[in-house]
Amino acid sequence: MPLDWQLATVTAVRNETPTVRSFTLRLPGWAGHRPGQHVDLRLTAEDGYSVERSYSIASEPERTGEVDITVERIPGGEVSPFLHEAVVPGDRLEVRGPIGGYFVWEAALGGPLLLVAGGSGVVPLMAMARHRAKAGSHVPARLLFSSRGPDEIIYRAELDRLAAAGDGFAVAHTLTRQQPPGWTGYARRIDEQMLTEVVEPLGAAIRAYACGPTALVETVANGLVRLGLPADRIRTERFGPTGT
């Protein structure tokens, strides 16, 4: 089955942080997705010049007929500044997907579930966390989330709500560059000690998903291997400075 381009309508735009924005795309012929998958976006100018980019889906599959994507504005980028500055509700965008079948977690896979994110790498993991909540899954799950500063924590309020729901989902934040007064979370880059502390309550047979910059994902994946987790239980998605 070919993945055809379809015309999505932007129905909502929401600021997540000063540099990160979410877009709700209503899709006429969306066959549904699995948490962790992404879509391709194609932008075309009047003269036919066009560019494509991939964006992870942030929303859970329980929401049908539309998906959210969350886009970090990359200074000097070709696509993300356009999406941030020019796209408003009512605009239409060409989209195809869903794409990717490995970096996927569904409630039926079970847990315990470890999610590790750096910056906007949280987006596909958020689809998993939202799905877990909507599906009524109670598998123990922890998100270790590295952000630069308190204003740059994507989905902060929603993550607080998910962690307060009492269904076995916990969040540990680390702020690597700037911490507010009274900060009680981690305050350094993710390292093996931090991983050990976050993984410990989950036990041994976890499923791990890590998404973020290459250095973070390398640290996490190598660290989990050293902690004894089999390589096929560790799924990674990385971004360098690619998704501009």
Binding site: M1, P2, L3, D4, W5, Q6, L7, D40, R42, L43, T44, A45, E46, G48, Y49, S50, V51, E52, R53, S54, E78, F82, A86, D91, R92, L93, E94, I99, G100, G101, Y102, F103, T214, E218, A221, N222, L224, V225, A231, D232, I234, R235, T236, E237, R238, F239, G240, P241, T242, G243, T244
Partner: protein, 213 residues
């Protein structure tokens, strides 16, 4: 979609200077559809980076060959190698022009193994269990090589070191990182990404990104 859709307000950057000394025309000519140019070397992997010590590393050619072969690291480095300067396109949309590698052509690896006449496909397999499939015709005649150097330095583990297959004419997932062997087969056998929604052939010039493209 019949008539071409135009994205309201989109102009595009057109020329990001990422091609170095090349002219804009040449950069455009060498950029496959839907791709953008970068001078970075982004890392994309599905799992942890495998690390096999060189004294336990080997490269195999097996399957439909009369003389299967296994090289140690030292033997592999002693095979006839050359420099390769090639354009690489990743299905995640980046294209990097003039990437400089050192490695052994697949032709050289197949010399002396005595291919069975029914051999028509290869499966490249890697540390960590990754596989990718290619028609034999797509890797012969200097269309593919196994590289151990990038940009004058040993190939870094996150980029597929100690050695990776490089197939410049296909999206980069066909260039198996951490390659440990080539298996010659009569039948095509979809590899890792080819079984997970990505295109079986992966020609970047016809945008064969996903199944059905």
């Amino acid at each position: 979609m019949g008539e071409r859709f135009v994205t309201r307000g989109f102009v595009g950057r057109r020329d990001d200077g990422a091609g170095g000394p090349l002219s804009g025309d040449e950069r455009r000519r060498r950029t496959p559809p839907g791709q953008y140019l970068t001078t970075d070397f982004p890392v994309l992997s599905a799992g942890p980076t495998p690390r096999t010590p060189l004294d336990r590393w080997s490269l195999q050619v097996e399957g439909l060959v009369a003389n299967p072969v296994s090289w140690t690291w030292e033997q592999f480095l002693a095979l006839p190698s050359r420099d390769w300067v090639v354009d690489i396109s990743c299905v995640t949309k980046w294209t990097h022009l003039d990437m400089r590698w050192k490695g052994v052509s697949v032709d050289a690896l197949l010399e002396g193994v005595d291919l069975d006449p029914t051999a028509a496909f290869i499966v490249a397999y890697s540390d960590g269990g990754y596989t990718t499939n290619l028609p034999l015709a797509d890797v012969l005649n200097n269309q593919a090589f196994v590289a151990w150097e990038y940009d004058g330095k040993p190939l870094a583990p996150e980029h597929g070191g100690p050695a990776r297959l490089v197939v410049p004419g296909r999206y980069f997932w066909k260039s198996a990182k951490w390659v440990r062997g080539l298996r010659l087969q009569a039948n095509d056998e979809p590899g890792f990404w080819e079984s997970l929604g990505y295109n079986n052939r992966g020609d970047q010039w016809t945008e064969e990104r996903y199944s059905g493209d």
